[in-house]
């Protein structure tokens, strides 16, 4: 793909804009809270879009359009089943405890609810994971830019890291959140025309449906058994593994997204944040997945589009960029490319701003130097931002040189994340849960995930202990690993809690369901109240599921 001067100009304009926003926000920062938690002062429309955009990395754009070409509209399960219900749940039922407890981070909530060791376990795991996911996303950016535009890996990684560092260092979390909203606008503006053009060229939905296998235009029809569909997963595995364990584990406990809602300016706004974010979230398949299906249809139409190839098979990661090259002239090409760069950068900024908060409050303040004046923690927060970006660059280079380490790390992360939701669910809704229960539940859940991986096989991966069962796809294996981790964590937490000393109920006020006063927002118009919005969002998600069933 060849860029013209105007495309570079648009990219440069965007870089200036994000740096300018960081510069304008710098005066607002006077405490560590301003820098790390945005001082609980961000309007709800901004937190909602940031909640969505923090998760909408470029890897998702590129990956989900590739999945559209590979699996078809079934990929939308990652949105309509694997995201929307969990987003409604966290807003309605969990945000009262996160926001109401006055915790500054998700690990800090664990400290208030359970104990120091549970917090530290979660904080350390989260800190390491954010650095590596930031690094892996930078690595993906470097690869893609080299492949598509011929830029050097160094240039892409170092320039984007420098810009992210500049605006997060200046404006902290507020700056990261503002730029996530911009990124979201750019993605909608830059990619929805592409979706429309590709679908139109492929003859609309019916034209696409007549050219691709029937399994690709139905999301539920071929889910009866794992062998009917290319994902290799059946209804139960998908709903329980993806829709429940993985989705709730991510949307309800991952500080990267929760941090955006906790920055909101009131409890009601914090609760509405994930619910409102679910509205654009459920529309994303039309921008990212449908063009992938259109690409497959176009490749069968002899109009001059072929799926990109690599090593004799289709290279699905290039579906989105090749479509851009075929439909966009210079100008719009620059906008689309800027959207892609923006989502890489704000993915990195999201990780860095979550990392610096967890490091400063949950590791530094609680273990290294407690009771220092706030200005000291502000300085530590800023230095951690620099450190976080440098470590991410290091992780990007590590990912570039050792591909196997990369896969191994992602596997270990999935073991650590899988049991999390069981701990939070019990902690928030069962007052008898104890710190010992939570801690040993998490450990045993992670072990159970590793053991399930060691005992099962999918496409030659796993079964390093013994081969007891073979899954039709790695995705199915992943879902069942998550389910076993969740179940073991859930049962162990209950068992150990029953055996250990309960905490007095007065210490749990504001942290557990049933011991927390709920302020009802009566007298406010319905669209400013979380519950009616949740019903609306839920009904829309059901309609989409039925429409494309």
């Amino acid at each position: 793909m060849k860029l013209a001067f105007v495309d570079y100009f648009i990219l440069a304009l965007y870089f200036l804009l994000v740096l300018g926003i960081g510069w304008l926000l710098r005066k607002k920062i006077s405490t560590s809270g301003d820098f790390l938690t945005a001082g609980h002062s961000v309007p709800v429309w901004i937190t909602s879009l940031a909640f969505l955009a923090a998760n909408l990395g470029a890897q998702e754009l590129v990956g989900m359009s590739g999945n559209g070409a590979k699996y078809g509209i079934m990929t939308a399960h990652f949105y309509w089943v694997g995201a929307v219900p969990a987003m409604i749940f966290v807003g309605l039922f969990m945000m009262p405890f996160y926001y109401g407890s006055r915790a500054r981070s998700v690990p800090e909530y664990l400290k208030l609810r359970f104990d120091e060791k549970t917090r530290t376990l979660n904080a350390l795991a989260f800190a390491v994971m954010t650095i590596f996911s930031s690094g892996i996303s930078m690595y993906a950016l470097g690869l893609l830019m080299r492949l598509v535009l011929g830029w050097s890996f160094e240039t892409s990684v170092l320039v984007s890291a420098a810009i992210v560092l500049a605006y997060t260092f200046l404006g902290g979390l507020t700056s990261a959140i503002y730029n996530e909203v911009l990124q979201f606008f750019l993605i909608v503006v830059g990619f929805s025309p592409l979706a429309a053009l590709a679908v139109w060229k492929a003859g609309g939905w019916s034209g696409m449906a007549s050219r691709v296998p029937a399994v690709m235009t139905h999301s539920w029809k071929y889910m009866g058994s794992a062998h009917q569909n290319p994902m290799g997963i059946e209804v139960f595995g998908m709903v329980a593994g993806l829709g429940f364990v993985l989705s709730f584990g991510y949307w309800c406990t991952d500080f990267l997204v929760i941090q955006r809602a906790m920055a909101a300016n009131s409890m009601s706004a914090a609760r509405r944040t994930p619910v409102l974010a679910a509205l654009p979230k459920m529309m994303m398949p039309f921008i990212v997945i449908v063009p992938g299906i259109a690409a497959l249809a176009l490749s069968k139409m002899a109009v001059g589009y072929d799926l990109p190839m690599k090593n004799g098979g289709p290279d699905y990661d290039q579906v989105l960029t090749t479509l851009m090259g075929k439909f966009y002239p210079s100008g719009m090409l620059g906008v689309g490319l800027t959207g892609l760069m923006a989502s890489f950068m704000s993915g990195m900024a999201g990780n860095v701003t979550a990392f610096n908060t967890v490091f400063t409050y949950d590791i530094y303040q609680s273990h290294i130097r407690p009771n220092a004046p706030d200005s000291h923690y502000l300085m530590v927060g800023r230095l951690t931002t620099v450190g976080g970006v440098l470590l991410s660059v290091g992780a990007a280079y590590m990912a570039a040189s050792y591909n196997t380490i990369n896969d191994l790390l992602q596997l270990v992360f999935s073991f650590v994340n899988a049991p999390l939701f069981a701990t939070f669910l019990l902690g928030m809704f069962w007052r008898r849960t104890t710190g010992h229960g939570a801690f040993f539940g998490l450990l045993s859940g992670t072990l159970a995930a590793a053991a399930t991986h060691g005992l099962t096989l999918a496409e030659g991966k796993g079964a390093w202990i013994a081969n007891l069962h073979e899954f039709p796809s790695p995705m199915a294996q992943n879902f069942y690993i998550a389910m076993s981790a969740w179940t073991v964590c859930f049962l162990t937490t209950i068992g150990v809690s029953m055996l250990s000393e309960p905490r007095p109920e007065r210490e749990l006020t504001g942290l557990v369901y049933g011991l927390t006063e709920h302020k009802h927002d009566e007298g406010v118009v319905w669209y400013k109240r979380p519950a009616p919005l949740a019903v609306l969002v839920g009904v829309l998600a059901i309609i989409l599921n039925l429409w494309f069933a």
Binding site: Y14, I21, K28, Y178, V181, V189, L197, G331, M332
Partner: protein, 65 residues
């Protein structure tokens, strides 16, 4: 605090003007798979979006003062 609608409104207005200008100056410049003047139409949409954000920002600042 900085109203985000102001800088983003300016950005999209500018982008819209740029793309509309390109669409008018090079109407023959289009992607391999479409005959539409993509820059012109997308530029118009961005211009409308940018102006809409600016209008909202202006209304909010008036209300405050």
């Amino acid at each position: 605090m900085l109203d985000l609608r102001l800088p983003s409104g300016l950005f999209f207005t500018l982008l819209g003007v740029l793309l509309v200008a390109m669409g008018i100056l090079n109407p023959a410049d289009h992607g391999a798979l479409t005959d539409l003047n993509v820059n012109l139409y997308c530029g118009l949409a961005m211009l409308v979006f940018g102006l809409f954000l600016l209008m909202l920002a202006r209304r909010a600042s008036r209300k405050q003062s």
